[in-house]
Structure formats: structure tokens, C-alpha cells
């Protein structure tokens, strides 16, 4: 074996070793990224649940009534509102 061939072989082996190291570090980086994305997905999932609940709260009859009163909206209620006297009695009973 000539010196030139020996050097070439060493270079190839060195390059292979670097590739292996690079691949392994990429793998670790990808795994970390996947883990981050999983965490992010969990966070989004949590936020989506919270938002759905918030929307549900805003759609309740009580909330809609409150909004109509607060902003004095000219909206036809699905059923006639209770008279003032009846509402007062109801509030007292509640």
C-alpha cells in the first residue's frame, strides 16, 4: 500500500465517522424537535378546549340575556321575558 492510498483510506474513514456523528446529532435534534412539537400540540389542545368552553359560556341563555340588556340590543327574544315583578321574585328565590 502506498502512502497516498493510506491517506485516502484514512480520509474516507474520517469522513464516514463525521457522517455518522452528524447523522446521530441530526437524529437527536429531530427527536428534540418532535418532542417540542408534541408539547406544542398538547398546549394547543389545552387552549382549544379552553376556547370551546369560553364559546359555550357565551352561548348560554343567561349570557345572551345579559348582552342584550348591557348593549340595549333590539333583539326579539325566543320567548317573552318575565315581567319585572316576576324577575324580582325569581332573583330573590335564586
Amino acid at each position: 500500500m502506498t502512502i497516498g492510498r493510506a491517506v485516502a483510506l484514512l480520509l474516507v474513514l474520517g469522513a464516514l465517522a463525521l457522517c455518522v456523528v452528524q447523522l446521530r446529532s441530526e437524529r437527536v435534534r429531530c427527536a428534540a424537535r418532535v418532542a417540542d412539537l408534541r408539547s406544542e400540540r398538547l398546549r394547543m389542545r389545552r387552549e382549544s378546549w379552553a376556547l370551546q368552553m369560553e364559546i359555550a359560556r357565551l352561548r348560554t341563555p343567561d349570557q345572551i340575556r345579559e348582552c342584550i340588556e348591557r348593549y340595549d340590543l333590539q333583539v326579539l327574544l325566543p320567548h317573552p321575558p318575565l315581567s319585572r315583578a316576576r324577575s324580582a321574585a325569581l332573583a330573590e328565590s335564586r
Partner: protein, 590 residues
């Protein structure tokens, strides 16, 4: 020669010594290597599982990914029950060396007493998980994370939320701290709603930062299915308001109401008042949690009369035009004297229902006989659970025929000796409004998969049987029950936008554990439907033990509430106005 020999001898000796040293050294090295090899094998074979376990316990972190408990929707897709993921601050007491320091650091953040926290950590020192505070606000949770205290963690936990608050709470029920359904539909459909928690295993560095997920060890959560109910939040809201008003205006113990669609058997509202908030259980007594419309049975009183009358007409023991002598308000059936609240002479069957004559119904019961009476009440579904699928449903009480006696013949037609649940009563009323066909009441419209696709639909009405002929059912509703409302209208001006049909009832409340009735204790009821000519909604209101000084007749206490529920519901459901009722209103206003 000898000198050479001596030199050779010295060399030879040196060589032997070197050989010996080399052999000893080699033996030493071999022995060391053997020992090291043996140790290596020992570590790899014997100690390996322990070390691997130790390493994993340091590097791996197991996190539960909570499955989402399925949502419960009303008939129009409004969320009645849903789940949120909220932080829970917990400790691993086995990892905490100085509980006093940890408690002192956490107390101001969590707004808790340091001494109490320390006690809790010390008391659970044998456990690896001890929740300190659930449903922690996100900002507080972040501060706890930033404290980086050893043995203290912040995890997510699924929390049940009821955005409608008290609305429908007795029907929906609630879940416990661990997410198990404990009452109502949350209990009945627990297995379907709950889902299965997932797990995430991560590899962490010394700072507990996530490096990667453990391959193959992560299990995705399986979310629970969703429930779509037939209940409508708007109608339920209306019913609860009317019920609350009816109960409070006469200082009653409680009130119940059922609203149903007679053509489909769908339950639109199911209410008991007073009620409770499902997330504030400690704030209300346990009896407020009972869905009495399904779990409690009562002696119905006069609201029962139309069912018996329909049976009498079916068996032709009486004809619609026949006049029956009601003996001016008091009459002896054998040795038993029966009175009418409104004394009458001769009445037609329509008049008997309209004036709620006990004597007239007693005569009709005598003509029918016990077997026919028993047959008609069981055909209407009294005495057996409706099969609505609600936990703890009461079957009511319809005594076996062999236990009936001579008094039963006159008692049962008046609504005594029989116990019915409000749901059974409303279901039977629906049969009269549905051309005499009894349907199974339905509370659940559909089961949905977690992704929203339909798993099972219950949209088709479930026909149980034809209880009475169509023409007799029509006559009862459109003649007799309309006459009841017209009779009551003299005092209460009941005509509204729709022509309403119904039946009043004012039953005495029996003692729970002995014979006889409690003094001044009544169950005031009204069951009604509208529009009378083509019923779209059936509503029942029962008020238990109103203050007699404030009113106790069904037509005074319950009828106005039913009227408002019917008018409100029909308007909301956009049922066209009844021309006959509008004419009546116009005539009345002229």
C-alpha cells in the same frame, strides 16, 4: 573457560528472573483482566436491570396525557357539559428533604397556608404523588414552574365544566374529582363519555429539560364520545324560570316540570326546582340534586282522569253524549262517601272532565270494573319505567290486580291508589296528543364519536303501542281538555295566542309511612298541550306542598306556568299561530 561460564551463568540467571517476572506480570495482568471481565459480566448480567432502572428513573419522565371526556350537547348543539385542561400543582414527598422550605416557597404563590401545606406534604411522605392545588390559574402555575423546586411539579388535569350552570343540572348530573360520572347522564353514559388517558415518556437531561420522546413508549389518548340530547337549553331556561316563579310565589317545597314533543317522544325540558350548581355541590343540600321528574312517584289526583275516561270510551261503557248524574256534589259508593269540589247535576263525559267530578269518575270506574281499569292504566305505561335511560328511574306504582279491592274501583279513576312519575304522566299525555299512540320518551338524540361523526342515532320515534283509538284520543284532547281550560278561563283569562288543552289536578299528599293524607299538603298539577287541534308541545307542571294560604289549586298554581311555557315554547319553535285561538282572543277583546 570458567570466567565465560560464570558470565553465562549470570546472564542465564538474569534471563530466568526476567522470564519469571514476565510470567508473574502476565499472570497478574491476566488475573486482573479476568477479574475485570468477571466484574463486567456481573455488572452486565446481574446488576444491569438495577442500573438500567436507576438510569431510566433519572432520565425518563412519564406524563399522563388526559383524554378528553366527551361533551354533552343540547338538541341545537349548545355545549351543556365539556372539559378543560387545567394545571394541578403536585409534589412528590419522597423527593422533598425540607418540607418546611418547600411549603414556605409555595404558600404565597398558591395563596395557601404554609403550615397546612407542610402538614400535607409530611402526612403523605410515603407517596410519590400528592396534589396540592387543582385548577390552578395559568399564571400561578407558571410561577411554580419557575421556582424549580425539587419534588414539586405542575401537571395537567381534565376538569369538567358546565357552561349552562344550574340549567339541566339534575338531568346532566356531575363527575367526581377523578372524572368518574357520579349522577345523572354523566353516570349513565360514563363508559361512553370518559375516553382513555394516554401517556408520554420523555428522556430528560439533568436540568429536567425534554431531550426526546422515548420511542414506542408514547400512547395517544383516546377521547370520549359525545352525547346529543333532545333537551333544548332555551326551552329548559324558560321552564326553569317559570317553575322557579311558580314555586316561590306559593312558598312550595319544590316543583317539577316536563316538556315533550308528542309526535316524536322527545323530551324538550326536564326540570326540578330548587336546583343546584354542579360545580358547587357543597352549596346546596343533597335533595336538590334529585331529578324528581324521573326518580320520584306521586299520587297524581285529577290529572289522571282523562286516561281513565279514554279507557271508558274505548270500552264503550260510556258515550260522549251520555248524561251521568253526579248527585249534586256528594254520593255514597257503598259505604264510602265521595264529594265533588264543584257540585254538579247531570254531566256529559266532557263535563265530568271539565268540572273534574270525582263522583262522575267513580260511576265510570264502577261501570268499567277493576280489570278494565287496571288494563287501561298499564296500557298507558303506568307502573313500569318508561325506559328513558336515566339512572334510578322509578316505575311508579300500579298495584297488581289481585291487590285491588272495592275501593280501588272508585279511587283509581280519581287518581288515587296509583303512583306516577311526572315523566310517566307527560308520556301518557303525549299518547293522547299523538292519536292514541304511546311512544317511548327519548332524552338522547345521538351518540357521536370523538371526531364528531355519528356513532348511533336515535332520531326515529319508538312506537310502543296504540293505547286508545285515534278518534277517542282526539275527543279527549280537543273536546274534554279544551273544556277544562275554558272552565278555568272564567277566572284566569287563559286564552293566549294558541288554543290550549289540558287537565288540572289538586291531589292531597299521603303520609309517607302510614295511611291517610297530610293536612293542608297538596300536589298542584296541570298538564297541557297546544295547539289543541294539532298538538306540538306537551307541558306538565307539578308544585309540591304549596302554602294553602297563597293558593293550592292546580288551575291557580300550575296552569299559568304551563300556559306561559306552552306559549313561549311554541313561539320559539315557530309553530304557526292557531286561527281558532286568535278568533277567541279577538272576540274576548271586543
Amino acid at each position: 573457560m570458567s570466567a565465560i561460564s560464570a558470565a553465562e551463568l549470570v546472564i542465564a540467571r538474569g534471563a530466568r528472573r526476567q522470564t519469571r517476572v514476565a510470567v508473574i506480570t502476565l499472570a497478574g495482568v491476566l488475573a486482573t483482566l479476568t477479574a475485570l471481565g468477571a466484574r463486567l459480566i456481573y455488572i452486565n448480567q446481574v446488576l444491569a436491570p438495577r442500573f438500567v432502572g436507576l438510569a431510566q428513573s433519572q432520565q425518563d419522565a412519564h406524563t399522563v396525557i388526559p383524554a378528553r371526556r366527551g361533551q354533552i350537547f343540547d338538541a341545537r348543539g349548545r355545549v351543556i357539559a365539556g372539559s378543560e385542561m387545567l394545571p394541578t400543582v403536585f409534589v412528590d414527598p419522597s423527593q422533598i428533604e425540607h418540607p418546611d422550605e418547600v411549603a414556605a416557597a409555595l404558600a404565597p404563590v398558591l395563596g395557601m397556608d404554609a403550615g397546612e401545606l407542610e402538614d400535607r406534604i409530611r402526612q403523605r411522605s410515603d407517596r410519590s404523588y400528592c396534589p396540592l392545588k387543582r385548577e390552578v390559574p395559568a399564571a400561578e402555575a407558571q410561577v411554580v414552574r419557575e421556582l424549580r423546586l425539587r419534588g414539586v411539579g405542575v401537571g395537567d388535569a381534565s376538569c369538567r365544566r358546565y357552561p349552562m350552570g344550574r340549567l339541566m343540572s339534575q338531568t346532566i348530573g356531575f363527575v367526581g374529582r377523578d372524572g368518574d360520572g357520579l349522577e345523572g347522564l354523566e353516570l349513565a353514559y360514563d363508559a361512553f363519555l370518559r375516553g382513555r388517558d394516554g401517556q408520554r415518556v420523555t428522556i430528560r437531561d439533568a436540568q429536567r429539560r425534554i431531550l426526546a420522546d422515548q420511542d414506542g413508549a408514547t400512547a395517544e389518548p383516546v377521547d370520549g364520545g359525545h352525547l346529543v340530547l333532545t333537551l333544548d337549553a332555551v326551552i329548559q331556561d324558560l321552564v326553569e324560570q317559570e317553575l322557579a316563579h311558580a314555586v316561590s310565589s306559593v312558598d312550595a317545597e319544590f316543583g317539577m316540570s316536563v316538556v315533550m314533543a308528542p309526535r316524536t317522544g322527545e323530551i324538550l325540558a326536564l326540570a326540578t326546582w330548587p336546583t343546584y350548581h354542579p360545580t358547587e355541590l357543597e352549596a346546596s343540600p343533597p335533595q336538590y340534586r334529585r331529578n324528581r321528574t324521573v326518580t320520584d312517584a306521586f299520587e297524581p289526583g285529577s290529572v289522571f282522569k282523562p286516561f281513565v275516561m279514554s279507557g271508558a270510551l274505548t270500552r264503550r261503557v260510556v258515550s260522549p253524549a251520555e248524561l251521568i248524574d253526579c248527585h249534586n256534589g256528594s254520593f255514597f259508593f257503598g259505604r264510602r262517601l265521595i264529594h265533588d269540589t264543584k257540585p254538579s247535576g247531570a254531566l256529559t263525559p266532557e263535563g265530568i272532565i271539565a268540572r273534574s267530578s270525582n263522583i262522575g269518575m267513580g260511576i265510570i270506574g264502577t261501570r268499567m270494573g277493576n280489570p278494565a281499569l287496571h288494563d287501561i292504566i298499564t296500557r298507558f305505561g303506568f307502573g313500569v319505567p318508561t325506559g328513558v335511560g336515566f339512572p334510578g328511574e322509578s316505575p311508579g306504582l300500579a298495584l297488581p290486580l289481585k291487590e285491588w279491592n272495592v275501593y280501588s274501583t272508585t279511587s283509581v279513576p280519581m287518581g288515587h291508589e296509583t303512583m306516577v312519575t311526572p315523566l310517566q304522566l307527560a308520556t301518557a299525555m303525549c299518547a293522547l296528543c299523538n292519536d292514541g299512540v304511546l311512544l317511548r320518551p327519548r332524552l338522547v338524540k345521538a351518540l357521536l364519536n370523538a371526531d364528531g361523526t355519528v356513532k348511533q342515532s336515535f332520531d326515529e320515534p319508538r312506537v310502543l303501542r296504540q293505547v286508545v283509538p285515534t278518534e277517542i284520543a282526539h275527543w279527549i284532547v280537543q273536546k274534554a281538555m279544551v273544556a277544562v281550560v275554558a272552565e278555568s278561563a272564567h277566572t284566569d283569562s287563559l286564552l293566549g295566542e294558541y288554543r290550549i288543552a289540558g287537565k288540572t289536578g289538586t291531589a292531597q299528599v299521603p303520609y309517607p309511612h302510614r295511611r291517610g293524607y297530610q293536612p293542608e299538603a297538596y300536589l298542584s298539577s296541570f298538564m297541557g298541550t297546544a295547539p289543541a287541534d294539532h298538538p306540538q308541545v306537551v307541558a306538565l307542571v307539578m308544585i309540591y306542598k304549596p302554602n294553602p294560604r297563597k293558593g293550592y289549586y292546580g288551575r291557580v298554581v300550575s296552569l299559568p306556568a304551563v300556559r306561559d311555557i306552552l306559549v313561549g315554547s311554541l313561539g320559539y319553535l315557530q309553530v304557526s299561530l292557531d286561527p281558532a285561538a286568535l278568533e277567541a282572543v279577538a272576540r274576548a277583546s271586543e
